[in-house]
């Protein structure tokens, strides 16, 4: 289980996260909903070690504290982040991106089998393994980013706005793939503006506003939640 207790984070004077507490079980799919600037990305970045939270905070993985670890050690804990904007190595090929995905020592055993599995999940990437990534479409690059993250053998895969800038049909395809990733037992923690489609794959969700968690529940309950309906699903 990945747990966050009382996480606060400041950028200068701006309080981006204010006492956030969340948890996600192994194999679970959790979505974090909220408007722009609600602190969703900051939460993922804090877990990934990319931003330093205020003192005293606890981020625990299976009961062991991981807050304050340098970010390059997080993938070897089994936590992978697909950042907003994908963060692929654009100058390298698909194959090389996947090679680097398995950089951490944790990912070396069973690497070959995982590569085959990843290429099965993303057959388009298998056809284009020697293509330079920045010559590919946005949807394909998002697949490279997810495939690279899966190569690190994650227990928890965090995705920051995976649908951003993609055509609707590509988004549908992407979430179908995420559904299949989920079936392999990888826990997914998804930050998403596209509430309808993310709730369709999620078990549970949190609602964030101005750096705080203001609501949580099962995906079905959140779909019925009037605040969620008003703010995100375009219902009166």
């Amino acid at each position: 289980m990945l747990e966050v207790f009382d996480l606060s984070l400041r950028y200068g004077k701006h309080l981006a996260l204010d006492g956030v507490a969340t948890n996600i079980e192994r194999g679970e799919t959790v979505v974090i909903l909220g408007a722009n600037g609600a602190g969703k990305s900051s939460l993922l970045k804090a877990i990934a070690g990319l931003v330093k939270p205020d003192k005293g905070v606890q981020i625990k993985l299976d009961g062991n504290p991981i807050a304050g670890l340098p970010p390059h050690l997080i993938p070897s804990m089994g936590i992978a982040l697909v950042p907003e904007g994908r963060g692929v190595f654009g100058d390298l090929t698909v194959e090389q991106n996947l090679l680097l995905g398995a950089y951490s020592s944790r990912a070396r055993s069973g690497e070959e089998a995982r590569r085959r599995h990843v290429y099965e999940l993303f057959p388009k990437l298998a056809e284009r393994r020697r293509q330079t990534v920045n010559t590919m479409s946005g949807g394909e690059q998002q697949m490279v980013a997810i495939a690279r993250a899966l190569m690190s053998k994650p227990d928890y895969l965090m995705l920051d706005e995976p649908s951003l800038g993609l055509a609707p049909v590509v988004v549908t395809e992407l979430f179908e793939t995420l559904g299949r990733v989920r079936e392999t037992g990888v826990a997914l923690l998804i930050v998403e503006q596209n509430v309808r489609i993310s709730l369709s794959v999620a078990d549970r969700g949190y609602l964030m506003e101005a750096g705080r968690i203001v609501g949580e529940g099962t995906a079905a309950a959140l779909r019925r939640n009037s605040a969620v309906q008003r703010a995100f699903l375009g219902m009166a």
């Binding site: 390059h72 090389q96 090679l99 990912a107 690190s152």
Partner: protein, 290 residues
């Protein structure tokens, strides 16, 4: 005369390429513009000189001592001088400016030590100074060895960076350090390693040059400038680019010196550099979007 010029050009160009590869690693990956690079080379040249004259060690064996020493020197300099700058710099351009100032100081420290130890005379030693006949041209064996060493070291390094996971990780740090962290690469460690590797290449270049050229305590600057030109011609961080650009520069210099006027070599160098900056500022092999 043409054959002689071509081979001499290749020898000089190979050395430039070798030297520039180290600088392109330090600049492209560690983001440190090392103005003391040429001084590191000259220090290595003096080390080879001392090993040869005082201990009777031939420069090939000297290489095995001096190159690891160059690596250790780069590793130490990064830890002591560069790490604080990296920690302080908000972004890469701030680091570039700080590192230029810091290594500019380092240049004079190394040069000063060399001047105290060896004075300002031109130095050289004799090693494999026997003529070899190739296609009717007589070339000193030490020059052919220099070319062979430059190509071997350069291509080995290229192969390592291109075809291993470790090398791919180093390149990933050069092109996308923010993403490198996400796959578990320790960017600081990679930068330090690249800087140290650059030091090792500078040392190798210094020893190779000392095999066939005279040198003085103050000739480092020329090498830094030429390496910098080759790096920019080849595209920052691009090893094959550095290799090709180094060979081109060496050929041009040799041809100008042979057929036009030896005094014009430096002018020719800068003319190429200027034309390139106007025509392809990203370098011959660099990508437009950097």
């Amino acid at each position: 005369m043409l054959t002689t010029a071509i081979i001499a050009g290749l020898v000089l160009g190979g050395t430039y390429a070798l030297v520039a590869m180290g600088l392109t690693l330090q600049y492209g990956i560690a983001r440190i513009m090392n103005l003391a690079y040429g001084e590191t080379m000259i220090a290595a040249a003096f080390a080879a000189f001392v090993l040869k004259n005082a201990l009777g060690l031939n420069p090939m064996a000297g290489l095995l001592l001096v190159v690891p020493a160059g690596f250790a020197f780069g590793y130490a300099i990064y830890g002591v001088m560069m790490r604080p700058l990296v920690a302080r710099a908000g972004d890469r351009s701030a680091l570039e400016i700080d590192s230029i100032l810091a290594t500019f100081g380092l240049l004079f420290v190394i040069q000063g030590v060399l001047l105290v130890l060896f004075g300002s005379n031109y130095m050289s030693y004799s090693y494999l100074n026997i003529p070899v006949s190739i296609l009717g041209a007589n070339i000193a064996a030490n020059r052919l060895l220099a070319l062979g060493l430059a190509l071997t070291i350069g291509l080995t390094l290229y192969g390592l960076l291109r075809y291993t996971r470790w090398g791919t990780a180093i390149r990933a740090v050069a092109v996308a350090p923010q993403s490198a962290v996400l796959v578990g690469i320790d960017v600081n460690r990679a930068a330090r390693f690249a800087f140290a590797l650059g030091g090792a290449l500078a040392a190798a270049g210094g020893v190779v040059i000392s095999m066939y050229q005279t040198f003085t305590a103050t000739s480092g600057v020329t090498f830094t400038m030429k390496a910098l030109i080759v790096v920019i011609m080849g595209g920052v961080g691009n090893l094959l680019g550095a290799l090709s650009a180094g060979l081109i520069l060496g050929m041009v210099e040799t041809f100008v010196a042979t057929y036009l006027e030896p005094g014009l070599t430096l002018a020719a160098t800068y003319a190429i550099f200027l034309a390139l900056l106007l025509w392809r500022p990203q370098g011959l092999f660099g990508k437009a979007t950097r």
